[in-house]
């Protein structure tokens, strides 16, 4: 039987592909690489690598401990590299308007009840439930891909991250 080797990427080891144009503009493909984006990011910067109307995919460099954030809708955090500990928290008060999109930064510690923690490694996907708060921690450097809606802290850097020629 053939011995197959599955190739995943990491901050240390990724090999980017690309758009080979026949008759088109490469910008239309918004081609980037999550590990490349995270390798050039500040800790917990939320850099959009995908956008479909109001919905975004954010590449996040997990390093040290993040601020607390409150989310008005479910978000999903997929660890692409490293080990990331996610703390979930049930706030007593409503911290974010449920009709808005994207999570907001909380200043200081929220009040309420700890819901628990998830320690996630590469490939593990964690639900960040609507109306709740969370923060992330990584001892080294990790990468998280976040499925969410554009919010006040979403960073757009298309010209820097995408293939343009």
């Amino acid at each position: 039987m053939t011995d197959y080797k599955t190739v995943f990427g990491s901050l240390e080891d990724y090999a980017k592909g690309g758009v080979h144009i026949v008759d088109d503009d490469p910008k239309y493909y918004a081609f980037s690489n999550i590990f490349e984006v995270a390798s050039q990011a500040a800790p917990y910067e939320k850099i959009a690598v995908g956008k479909n109307l109001e919905y975004v995919l954010e590449a996040i460099r997990a390093e040290g401990t993040s601020e607390w954030r409150a989310t008005p809708h479910d978000e999903f955090a997929l660890v692409m590299d490293g080990t990331v500990r996610i703390e979930l928290f049930d706030p007593t008060a409503e911290l974010v308007d449920p009709s808005t999109g994207g999570s907001v930064t909380l200043h200081g510690e929220p009040e309420g009840n700890p819901m628990g923690t998830v320690t996630a490694q590469r490939g593990h996907m964690t639900m960040l439930p609507a109306g709740k708060a969370y923060r992330m921690h990584c001892d080294g450097v990790g990468v998280v891909l976040l499925q969410t809606i554009e919010g006040p802290d979403t960073v757009y850097r298309w010209a820097d991250i995408c293939q343009t020629f």
Binding site: Y4, G9, V22, K27, Y29, F31, H73, F76
Partner: protein, 322 residues
């Protein structure tokens, strides 16, 4: 109404008719006839295309079986066409289009899949993992061709939502993903929060997928849908977009051929490796090649308003401007 009242042919296969289209098969080929023309396709390729069209409920936009035949979803009704997205057919005015109720065409395709799929052939499987589609009629593989598509409400693994996969539930790790780590995340939920502290190993889940080129929903942030899929060999259909869609390559490599949606003129090749992200504009069609079984995250905006928004110029054809 699908008409299948004629006796099966000498090889044991029935003929199907819906509207002006007639479909018949022999040992190797499917023959499609319509009022202004006819067309043939190898039956293995045909069954792979019909299987996906059925499983996806005609998917988003256009599902081209090749450069001539395909379907276009209008989410309630569906067009079946011949030569509609082929410049030569259109110029010669021999292109043909007919609109059906969603269920009418689906029922025809379902009956065809059941009758034309022989025992031992699985249209969802990679060629190295299945038997032959050719030859005279012999048995069926209804279990394989009626698989249910996974559609999570919130996320796979959340209590009450789509379950995880395991050996016991009939999803062994695929031969090409034997090296994928099967460890689950460490979850420590406070009492009362067990149903909301949820996490699962998506890569392990995908390593246990028994189908290829079949995007299914594992998480939903309102209308933002993660539809990962495992790919091996070629995407049988040429998918014509009616909205921008995005790809995140999770493992290994896929190469995409991108063509103009309406004419088929080549626009680009997109080579995607692990960690790469790329958009597919709303006015293209694409097909993909995966030499080794790979994991691809297809990201869709499932909003039913998008095709109309694009037509009115309210939604962009290209994903971002910069």
């Amino acid at each position: 109404m699908t008409i299948t009242d004629e006796a099966p042919n000498q090889l044991g296969y029935r003929q199907f008719r819906v509207g002006g289209f007639t479909f018949s098969r022999d040992e190797y080929f499917v023959t499609v006839e319509w009022p202004t023309g006819n067309h043939q396709m190898p039956v293995d390729h045909w069954l792979r295309c019909v299987q996906r069209d059925v499983a996806w409920g005609f998917f988003y936009g256009i599902v081209n079986f090749d450069s001539v035949i395909g379907t276009m979803n209008h989410y309630g009704t569906v067009d079946m066409f011949a030569g509609r997205f082929n410049e030569a057919y259109r110029r010669a005015e021999v292109d043909y289009n007919e609109t059906f109720g969603h269920d009418e065409l689906l029922d025809c395709f379902r009956a065809m899949l059941s009758d034309w799929t022989n025992e031992g052939y699985d249209p969802f499987a990679a060629p190295l993992e299945t038997g032959s589609a050719f030859g005279p009629s012999s048995g069926n593989n209804d279990e394989a061709v009626t698989r249910r598509r996974v559609v999570a409400e919130r996320m796979v693994g959340v209590p009450g939502d789509e379950p995880l996969r395991s050996d016991d539930s009939g999803f062994p790790v695929n031969r090409a993903f034997a090296d994928v780590d099967q460890g689950e995340p460490e979850i420590d939920a406070a009492p009362g929060y067990e149903d909301e502290v949820c996490s699962f190993n998506l890569f392990a889940y995908l390593s246990r997928s028994d189908v290829t080129w079949n995007p299914s929903v594992v998480s939903a942030c309102k209308e933002s849908l993660y539809c990962p899929t495992t790919e091996e060999f070629t995407l049988p259909v040429i998918h014509g977009n009616d909205r921008v869609e995005w790809f995140v390559q999770i493992s290994d490599e896929i190469q995409w051929d991108v063509e103009d949606r309406d004419t088929g003129a080549k626009r680009a090749r997109v080579i995607m490796r692990a960690g790469d992200v790329a958009a597919m504009p709303a006015d293209i069609r694409h097909t993909g090649y995966s030499p080794k079984r790979s994991m691809l995250l297809v990201w869709e905006n499932g909003s039913p308003r998008i095709p109309e928004m694009i037509a009115k110029g309210e939604a962009p054809v290209h994903p971002v401007d910069f």
